[in-house]
Amino acid sequence: MSTERADPGAYDYSQRSARLPAAVNQSNRDLPISIESRLELYELQQVLRQFEQRAYDLFMQNLVKGTSHLSLGMEAVAAGFGLAKRPDDYSFATYRGHAHTIAAGVPLGPVMAELLGRENGLLKGKGGSMHLTSVDHGMMGSYAIIGAHLCIANGAAWSAQLRGTDQVAIAFFGDGTTNIGAFHEALNLAVIWKLPVVFVCENNLYMEYTPIDVVSAVPNPAADRGPAYGLEGILVDGNDADAVFHVASRALAKARAGDGPSLIEAVTYRHGGHSRADPGKYRPADEVEAWLDRDPIPMYHRRLLELGVPEGDLATIQQSVAGRVEEATEYAKNGLHPGPEHLFTDVWADGGSAWRN
């Protein structure tokens, strides 16, 4: 396999066929990342975890309707990129986009309110869980049809190039997405136009209910395809926030310097099912258990203790995050259900929806 692996979080491919997690690469503790940054990574992972656990509880109380796709267990990817990116960079996510939205700096209250379909939601209740967007935070959308947003992220990167800014566009997508044509169109265009874009495959080993290795021609669905487009095939431990942060920083710097796109495959696992409707029963119990043992958050907690951070500091962070999630929940529950006046707004840029005189 010609795929090169990034050193941080180097993924031990020999374990892949069993779909089991690689052991933590303890040398990631020695990556040149400051304690301040690490505390931010910890806090961000806590926010993502506690927010989505609350979102899950609210589904159970039937306060969140429709569907919703959680990334519990995958927080290290969003946190690593969230911290590595600049506030004016662009993010593009999938329907599994709560974490990337929050990691872009979007306040929790409006996100939670959007999940509850309220007027004070991020999208005024018109998009829902699968379409979270906050242009003010460079969060350029969550896209629920596989593939399109990789092509759209190219456009944002092209625009940054045309405007002469050094912004970078980041597109997050799943392992299953590597088998749709848009993925391949996007990579090819990004390379020939040398676009400042970073493609991040969150390989959680499943496309919906089907194991990705059963439906892909190569073992590493993104990284192994990189070389076909002249890109390095970068694999990283998606459950290690330090490793992700490190690899993300490198790719962002490369794009910002005008050296073109990167393709990163972060191997991770979702703790729950694909979506609200899915109990995830198709996954063997020992596999789930092995990945729960590799939960990114307790691992990171242990690492910070090893690095000398007092337990009390981490407890304080956890508690303050719990307070923020509580506030967001109240904000959302107190939101009104949108009234009919919202139905006919914002089809067009003039704010309306008229199609005739």
Binding site: Y90, G121, L122, L123, K124, G125, K126, G127, H131, T133, S134, V135, M140, G141, Y143, I145, G147, A148, H149, L150, C151, I152, A153, N154, G155, A156, A157, W158, S159, A160, L162, R163, A169, G181, A182, E185, A186, N188, L189, I192, W193, T345, D346, V347, W348, A349, D350, G351, S353, A354, W355, R356, N357
Partner: protein, 324 residues
Amino acid sequence: MAELSYREAVAHGIAQEMRRDPQLVMLGEDIASAGGVFKTTVGLLDEFGPGRVRDTPISEQAILGAAMGAAMTGIPVIAEIMFSDFLAVCWDIVANQMAKSRYMTGGQVNIPVVIRTANGGGSRFGAQHSQSVENWCMMIPGLKVVAPSTPADVVGLMAAAVRDPDPVVFFEHKSLLATKAEVPDGEIVEQLGEARLVREGSDCTIAALALMVPRALEAADRLAGDGIAAEIIDVRSLVPLDTQALLSSVAKTGRFYTVEENPRLCGWGAELASIVADEGFWNLDGPVVRITTPHIPLPSAEALEDMSLPTADRIYETVRKTMD
């Protein structure tokens, strides 16, 4: 005044807008060095350079995705899809992404994209390179749709489409490319959502679009010989739709015809017929009649294609018969 072909008018209209707005860019297959497979973009690379006029791979999703991403981050874009039939391979970006993103995000994004595409039959290209697909676009909330019939309208509607902050699908008719007409000097800007009354008449209203406009006009000449004064309306813009122009004409004539190049089912004329039936019913003196291509894939042989698309003969005969 200069005489321009419809084909030249496309490049003329784009150039007018690219001179006005230095941010405007365009992309598509073979549009730059080659000047377009229909030669509708000749000269643009020379004038505006490779940074603003970009050739792309055969990647329709990547083309329209890039257009959308650039547009939503502040760069207006004209994207070319070589044949409108190919919209089917990037339909997700058109129908699900560009059309809906503004609404779904609570109004956070604008998508100032013009999708130019060669549409329509008459070139003997067969069922995958000849379709009239305006109705595919018309039925999607969030898309604007125009289809000019004259060189002057190509320029004026191109300007309107480019200046519009929403996604506009701009249909250039392949069988009109060689037609020539006077185009006024200076800047030309039309309005989206305005039909044009191209021939006045008091006996019946005929609404037509793109290639069907000259055919309806030819039929009107012959009808005049029989004492029937047909009023011809070039619909020009399907979304937004100038229903007032249609309804006020029907109020005068009492009869309503559509001439549509699309296959029968769900053609744009069905929507117009429904509006006239709802809101102009008491002005009607007879049934609304739609003249369309039959509901078949377009055949390629000259003889067969000519039997399929509405012709001046068919329009003339249909109106004659139904006005009796």
